[in-house]
């Protein structure tokens, strides 16, 4: 068992490499608290919103970086700013809606006013009344205000970081992964088709592992395998960012490949005779210049951009406690989609989200692990498919990108 009293850092008991993950990282309260400080409020880029959600001056979205509430807003200078959703006075939330339009953020408690750039600009009765009362001598509004985030925009995605000195987002993701964001989003205006939140009964890192787990996708998900949407026998691979934290897994039509017998030989449930009465569910249209049918991209620590055929979505993974996570889905299309193209996206969206033929299974699998590892603080997960290191791979029968995540995670948590 772990002896809490003897630990200096929250991960000190993690002695092995990234090919072994102690189960207590998914349930320990100290680890959870340290993650907030070292990862989410530390050196990481966190997804905030889509640019298209805040097109006009004053448009804002209230979201979270880890558990910290933040506002992301466009000012009249056209720039996007982000700062804590917390009054400089007594800490109350400033924005009470998830999205809206504001000229400033005035706290409802005592009407302290903050600009769209997050500066404290007004204190009610600052000078008192009739020469009495008012703020103490020497109080200076400039010295107070919610913490600000550095903001980066990447092909219509808005990210924020509490670390002013963090690498530019392109460098943070690396050229290959940045290129894969560009592949999906560049030169097009997103249109939001719908937003849903899935409450996951598990630690946030179990869901991150799941999105990076190219090994499980065609074994757990019958729809992927039976309908040839994503199989390990297809052409594809994984790309991993230099620090390991971000990744892309993709599969592509292999025009020359013969039907693989590998799945029959493994007798996998997911290779089945299951048939749909209405195959139009899986209809698609040519949207990209390449043969890539599926691309799952993650940006450390908690963002996913998904392309499954023409089903495009972003997912924001928000920790709510050691064993509770909010997974926020935003389904997107693009300005200029025809009505027929939008119908295809809406039908394909049946695969994803809380009710999705694929994603409902990822919704419960993290809970199965969370419940399974109770009482197993001295045990660890084995991550040795495809070796013990991380890096790019020409196949997806690997846990290389999960090991990469743990590398980036441990670097920051132990810094």
């Amino acid at each position: 068992m772990r002896d809490v009293a003897e630990r200096a850092g929250p991960l000190d008991d993690w002695e092995g490499g990234v090919n072994r993950v102690p189960y207590w990282v998914f349930s320990d309260e100290d680890v959870f608290r340290a993650e907030q400080e070292k990862l989410f409020r530390g050196s990481s880029w966190n997804y905030l919103c889509l640019e298209v959600e805040i097109p006009n001056p004053g448009d804002y979205v209230a979201t979270h970086v880890g558990t910290t509430p933040v506002i992301v807003v466009r000012d009249f200078d056209g720039q996007i700013y982000s700062f804590e959703n917390r009054c400089a006075h007594r800490g109350s939330l400033l924005a009470l809606d998830d999205r809206g339009n504001a000229r400033d953020f005035t706290c409802v408690y005592h009407a302290w006013r903050h600009s769209l750039q997050g500066d404290l600009v007004g204190v009610a009765f600052e000078e008192g009344m009739n020469g009495t009362g008012g703020m103490a001598e020497g109080f200076c509004k400039n010295n107070h205000g919610p913490r600000k985030l550095r903001v980066a925009e990447l092909y219509g995605l808005v990210f924020g970081s509490f670390d002013e000195d963090i690498d530019d987002i392109e460098e943070y993701l690396g050229d290959e992964i940045t290129g894969r964001v560009k592949r999906v989003l560049d030169g097009r205006d997103c249109v939001v088709l719908g937003r849903f939140t899935q409450i996951l009964p598990n630690n946030w890192k179990l869901y991150v592992e799941n999105t990076k787990d190219s090994y499980h996708a065609s074994i757990l998900h019958l729809f992927f395998t039976t309908f040839e949407l994503n199989k390990l026998s297809m052409k594809g691979g994984i790309l991993v960012s230099p620090d390991g934290g971000s990744h892309v897994s993709y599969s592509a039509i292999d025009r020359e490949a013969e039907q693989s017998k590998a799945y029959q030989e493994e007798q996998l449930r997911s290779q089945s005779d299951y048939q749909l009465a209405d195959m139009s569910l899986l209809e698609n249209f040519k949207e990209f210049d390449d043969d890539i049918t599926l691309q799952i991209l993650s940006a450390f620590p908690n963002f996913v951009l998904q392309q499954i055929q023409n089903c495009i979505a972003v997912r924001q993974i928000l920790p709510k406690g050691p064993d509770k996570t909010e997974l926020k889905w935003t389904y997107i299309g693009f300005a200029g989609d025809t009505e027929a193209q939008q119908r295809i996206r809406l039908k394909l969206a049946n695969l994803v989200g809380p009710a999705g033929y694929v994603s409902m299974e990822d919704g419960c699998i993290g809970g199965f692990v969370q419940r399974g590892i109770a009482g197993a603080d001295d045990k660890e997960a084995v991550l040795e498919m495809g070796g013990t290191e991380f890096g790019n791979s020409g196949n997806r029968i690997t846990e290389g990108s999960i090991r990469g995540f743990w590398n980036a995670y441990r670097e920051r948590m132990q810094s």
Binding site: G194, R195, T197, I199, L276, A277, P354, A355, M360
Partner: protein, 162 residues
């Protein structure tokens, strides 16, 4: 505002349909669920926020009886999820007039608790059914059922239909 004229017989028939639908799901007779819809029936589940904003995507978005039947076979034969059951509590149907196809528009509040394998009972969803009803061969069916959940949060997963 004046309510449209609706006979008590019609109201009884609409109420019976709503109750039959809920009984079908709560009793795990999912194979009968598609029969509540017309052949060109539409079924979707969305949130009040998306519905207000006019966003078209659904948690579930099924256009036509084939897709509606596929939801059942997928739950039975394809998908992995933990066993669970619902109990629907329905409000009184409100008849809201006729739509452009001549179908009767009805709104009915619902409240659904979910009972999971381990015995836990949770409030799972509340909301309103926005329906268009059509008579086919003497039987009332859903030409359109849009399930508008009050919250956009879904705990773990939405397997069984609401």
């Amino acid at each position: 505002m004046k309510d449209i004229d609706v006979t008590s017989d019609q109201l009884v028939a609409i109420g019976q349909l709503q109750n039959r639908y809920a009984r079908c799901i709560d009793a795990d007779r999912l194979e009968d669920w598609p029969d509540f819809f017309t052949d060109d029936g539409f079924y979707s589940v969305t949130s009040a926020e998306n519905h207000r904003a006019g966003l078209p995507a659904g948690l579930i978005w099924l256009d036509g009886i084939g897709m509606i039947r596929d939801r059942v076979t997928a739950l039975r034969d394809a998908n992995i999820y933990e066993r669970h059951a619902y109990r629907h509590i329905l409000g009184q149907p409100y008849v809201d007039g006729r739509d452009e196809h001549g179908d009767t528009r009805v709104e009915t509040s619902f409240f659904v608790v979910r009972i999971t394998r381990d015995g836990q009972t949770d409030v799972f969803a509340s909301g309103c059914y926005h329906d268009s009803l059509r008579e086919v061969d003497g039987a009332l069916k859903f030409a359109r059922r849009v399930v508008v959940c009050d919250s956009s949060h879904i705990d773990t997963l939405l397997g069984l239909p609401l």
